[in-house]
Point group: C2
Chain length 393, copies 2
């Protein structure tokens, strides 16, 4: 443990803190930065000059304020020039984007993904999307790396996808394969889709400022990205947050993971379509059709939605008792289910949650919508830049 | 956010880091401190002199090493002079101790606690134990405060016991009441017993060096102290870790908390005694009698223990899937149950846990035994000293 930081370390930390501030909050005046970072004006000026010299920020005069006196210069992230590539590998689609510093999606490509597509076939499709986007990158841009969100359990150490119960992938080195396909000397960071979506909503979404958050994400299965004490909960190997495989019915319905009675057998795509008498249907559109039928008075669809909503509330209550979060966010198909069955969710949650754990918890839908996974994947790549702006750029 | 620390802050951090090192690791040579803290020899010398001047550490020559050359001076915590008071409020007993810097129990008092004892009657008993211990404190000792471990949900902000399902306490300001009874100008910090026991096992017990730990603690009910990414998981209000109230049987047996089918209805004292046909019995001795009867071949006791062991493995598997810990520790009555039914625990865990989450998880019993709660309570008080040694002493 090195306790006393060196001058170099302090400067690097300060550069990172300033760049992070404008990355998260957008254009900020020097005066506001002085207050927010607790540094004096001349230090802010010197840090800004260094970051501007590296092409990461620019300075300019603010819009007319109407106030007298010389306005404080405004520091802006170079969102159009500094970017990361972001991927989201979902069960039924692949998405690729170029995301600028500051979190703006500059370019994007969406592709359908057949459910039986293996990892070896998936990677070239992602590389192709990148190739198309690369042709449109303005000159003198700075790429800081690539981030990948994937529905599956991702090993923290090297980004290996250990298991994707809903894709059937086992031990797929997605990050390494993509790095080869991209053919560039850029780091590729891989994360679970629920984890990175939580990261994005915590950094710049509905959970900004919340230190204890559960982001429940449904695709075909269900997982959670968890923020505890302001930090991402990863667990020992990176597999933390597999709440969809919390067993809620002992010796219940077989699950894709090999166990039985997992929570996602009740609230995931397969369980809900089965309960609605539509076992042959697949995909989010099929789920939305069930919610729509329930809305229009279809009794079987209503029963299925109420049943799944009750189980959603049941599992959320368990998580609320275990984590005592201040916010639960429902993303992906969990957003659809929550909106269709909010009464059942709240009723079961209130019945089963401990009163002290319930009193400050807010239930929310994502602010970044489906883009949370892409923006979060880009954040994985930006993290490296923010840790050491001048060395990484 | 202040990014650049001042010289004063750096010195305070260094003092705290040195004192924490000898508090956790015991007597340490100056040479080892230089390496461990990443500071040069003259800084270590100056910091040690400051701490010795405040009476917190002493320096001396080490025991004979057999090596040539002048030995490096050894820095020792002043364990006999610097101390905290520690309390553990359990369902059937009250414990009080005086714990020295370094974690050594210097004096202790144990008292029986009738189950219907209310908070107003409990506090004077604890104050009486402290009065007895205080008479034996050597002159020129330094008391840094008091810490309290309590079986119940403790509000982080002020130590209010919101709910003790097994004591029947609701909204009891234990910390404030104790501060009045103690009649001293010392801070009193209150924490949940599982949380503080986990803290102690993480600081100086079986989980030292582990960053992701679940300490499962059973008294009459069941709770967990959780270490995630090296830090205590508290949740928003301080109520995190109420794993005993994870519902495992929907609409199951009524629980003391007001809900139904909570995990502790299957593995806690009441459930296990009921399953063994001993609903009228109470207390840890009654539980131990069931384990003993099972050992001696009593069929009903064996069935009850196997049933509870299976449920213990079931819940641990859920927590392993959610947290991906590297260690699960079984403390209090959960230690007894785990040791009596380890085969059932492991069998169900292996059946239900995700392979990636299982591959590095170790199941352990506490190193500090039942003293973990007392030592952890003292750690709550020492935390203040370690944050700012010269100001707090």
């Amino acid at each position: 443990m090195r306790v006393g930081p060196s001058q170099d370390e302090i400067r690097r930390q300060n550069l990172g803190a300033l760049l992070r501030h404008v990355h998260v909050h957008g254009a900020t005046s020097r005066a506001e930065l002085t207050t927010a970072l607790g540094l004096n004006r001349s230090t802010i000026g010197a840090l800004t000059a260094d970051l501007a010299g590296a092409g990461l920020v620019s300075e300019g005069t603010p819009k007319e304020t109407g106030r007298a006196g010389r306005p404080s210069l405004v520091v802006r992230p170079e969102s159009a020039r500094v970017y990361a590539y972001a991927y989201s590998i979902e069960v039924d689609r692949l998405r690729a984007a170029r995301v600028g510093l500051g979190g703006e999606v500059l370019d994007r490509r969406d592709l359908d993904r057949p459910r039986d597509l293996d990892a070896g076939e998936t990677v070239p499709m992602l590389a192709g999307a990148l190739k198309q986007m690369r042709e449109r990158v303005p000159p003198e841009s700075i790429c800081v790396g690539a981030g990948v969100a994937v529905c599956g359990m991702v090993r923290k150490a090297d980004g290996l996808v250990r298991l994707g119960p809903t894709t059937g992938w086992v031990d797929e080195p997605i990050g390494a394969a993509l790095a080869v396909e991209l053919g560039v000397e850029l780091p590729v960071t891989v994360g679970n889709v629920a984890d990175v979506a939580a990261f994005a909503e915590h950094a710049r979404g509905v959970a900004a400022g919340c230190d204890n958050v559960i982001y429940l994400y449904g695709d075909v299965g269900v997982g959670a990205g968890i923020i505890a004490g302001g930090r991402r909960l990863t667990g020992h190997g990176g597999y933390g947050g597999e709440v969809g495989h919390m067993v809620v019915v002992r010796d219940g319905t077989p699950c894709e993971c090999g166990s039985r009675g997992c929570w996602e057998t009740q609230i995931g795509e397969y369980g809900l379509l089965r309960a609605a008498g539509r076992s042959d249907a697949r995909g989010r559109d099929a789920l939305l059709a069930v919610f729509d039928a329930a809305d229009r008075g279809d009794a079987r669809a209503q029963t299925a939605v109420r049943h799944a909503g009750d189980w959603l509330g049941f599992g959320v209550a368990n998580l609320v008792n275990i984590f005592n979060p201040e916010m639960v966010i429902f993303g992906g198909t969990m957003r659809d289910l929550y909106l269709a069955a909010a009464a059942q969710v709240r009723s079961r949650l209130n019945e089963t949650g401990l009163p002290a754990c319930l009193e400050h918890v807010r239930l929310r839908t994502p602010k970044l919508g489906d883009d949370a996974a892409l923006i979060g994947a880009a954040e994985l790549a930006f993290e490296r830049l923010l840790a050491d702006p001048l060395d990484a750029a």
